[in-house]
Structure formats: C-alpha cells, structure tokens
C-alpha cells in the first residue's frame, strides 16, 4: 500500500537522522541532521492528519529553533582537538539504558490492546484548534504567551553585556579579593 511506503520512508528518515544527531562527533553535522529528523516528524504529523501541526513544526522548529541552535553552535566553536572525546565509560551504560527504555516502550506499544477506533477522513484541523484555543484552552493559551514573554526577557538579560561601573568596582577591593594569577574579568 502506498501510504505504508510513505510511512516507512518518513520513519526511516526520522530515525536515521536521529541516529546521526546522536552519534555524529561534529556538532554542526548533528545540527543539520536534526533538520531532517524534524522534517520527518512533520511528515509523520501530516500522515496522522495533523495539517496545522505539520506546518507549525516546519515553521517553528526548522525555521526558528534549529536556526537558533545552529547560531549557537557556530558562535561557540572551539578547536576540535581541544574537545574532550566521548569516553566508552559513559557510552556503554548510556547505551544499555537507552536500549532498555526503548525495549520497554516498544513492548508496551505493541503489547497493549489500545482502544483504537478506525480513523475517519482526515479533516482540516486549523479551525478546530483555533476555536478550542479561544474557548476551552484560553488559560493555557494566555499562560503560554506569558511564558514566551518571560523567556524572551530572560534570554535578553542572560546574554547582555555587563558594564562594570567605576563606582561599583573599587580597584583595591578587586585587587585584594581576586588572586593574582586569575585572569581579568572579560565579560
């Protein structure tokens, strides 16, 4: 069936790119692989009849968050020979733990008899979501806007340049408190 093939294509894209995100040593490559993972997830949303979410995933995740992540990667590059290697001592327990979690979730997902109903025709969901956001879910909607405002202000405060005023930092106190071999405050 054609729909099954499309599903397996998106699933393969998602999981293979996810593996690349996890196992790639180059963080820039991992960031670009994350784009394909998010694209695959958007395709899965579209297959599940969530048209609004598929578009939102593409616009917000790929157009927003991923660009932010890539900016951060490229602004914080260190020479790769200085980067500590990932040791086998934490790869092995993490691998065992991750495989155990996947096995447990897989067993639950396939072993449980979910009360599934045969899904009907996939209808446009944007209007339904909009009506629900303005009626039932008005409080979470407004709260999410508050969270976004706080996050925006917090991010701006966190990365602002700290100007040290002359009156706030007397030279003799700084000289007595800081050890002599410490580098000077740069930020």
């Amino acid at each position: 069936m054609a729909a099954d093939l499309v599903f397996y294509g998106f699933a393969l894209l998602t999981v293979l790119a996810g593996c690349f995100v996890v196992f790639s040593r180059n963080v820039v490559h991992a960031g670009f692989a994350l784009m394909f993972t998010l694209l695959g997830v958007a395709g899965l949303y579209a297959m599940l009849g969530a048209d609004f979410l598929a578009v939102t995933q593409t616009v917000v995740y790929i157009g927003g968050i991923l660009i932010l992540v890539l900016f951060a990667v490229m602004m914080t590059r260190v020479p790769s020979q200085n980067a500590p290697r990932r040791g086998l001592d934490r790869m092995v327990p993490a691998g065992i733990f991750a495989v155990a979690i996947f096995a447990l979730l897989y067993k639950v997902a396939t072993g449980t008899s979910w009360p599934t109903a045969t899904p009907g025709e996939a209808l446009p969901t944007a209007k339904l979501i909009g009506v629900k956001l303005m009626t039932d879910a008005i409080f979470p909607f407004e709260f999410a806007s508050l969270v976004l405002l706080v996050a925006m202000i917090g991010a701006a405060i966190l990365i602002r340049e700290r100007k040290v005023l002359p009156a706030e930092a007397p030279a003799e106190e700084a000289a007595t408190e800081a050890p002599a071999d410490e580098p000077e405050v740069t930020a």
Binding site: V22, L38, L44, V60, P84, P119, K132, L133, A144, A155
Partner: protein, 102 residues
C-alpha cells in the same frame, strides 16, 4: 501488517531513547539541547498518534502545539545560558564548567 498506532508509538519511543542517549553521552551543551528536542518530538509523535487513533479529536494536537511553544522558550533560554557560559569560561563542555563563581 498495515500501519497503525503501534508503528507511530515505536517511532516516538525510538526518538525518546535516542534523546536519552544523547543527553547521557554528549558533553557539548548545544548537543545536549538537541537531545532535549529529540525527546520532546518523540513525546509529540505519541500525542498526535493517540489523537488520531484513540481520541479522534484535536486535544492531542493542542497539547503538541503547547509542547512546541515550550520547546521554543526552552531553546531561547538554554542557548542564552550556553552563550553566557561560553563568554565566561571559553568553552561549552559541561564537564569543564564546574564553578559557580570565578
């Protein structure tokens, strides 16, 4: 076997396990945030799959939309912290950043 709910739940579980693995092994703070994004996407796939096959409405879609909103906020604050960390310590490796005060 035709594609149904368990297939989508398996994809969600795979994304979740990959994200857990990334968070346990990565040392680059930005790569840790990528692991968080994988975990959130795995959860979102489950929400939408259940909305399609069990619930039939759009409640799961609404939940997934709020998860995307919170992921955006988390990415903004997290990357701001990473940049401040890089400015103060000159590195983004979480093992070497172990002082609260210079």
């Amino acid at each position: 076997m035709t594609v149904g709910l368990p297939h989508f739940l398996t994809i969600g579980a795979a994304l979740f396990a990959l994200g857990i693995f990334a968070m346990m092994t990565r040392r680059n703070a930005v790569a840790l945030l990528m692991g968080v994004e994988l975990i959130l996407n795995g959860a979102n796939v489950n929400f939408v799959a259940f909305a399609r096959y069990v619930d039939g409405g759009v409640d799961g879609h609404l939940m997934a939309a709020f998860v995307i909103v919170l992921a955006a906020a988390e990415a903004a604050v997290g990357l701001a912290i990473v940049l401040a960390m890089f400015r103060n310590f000159g590195t983004v490796h979480v093992d070497t950043v172990n002082r609260l005060k210079r």
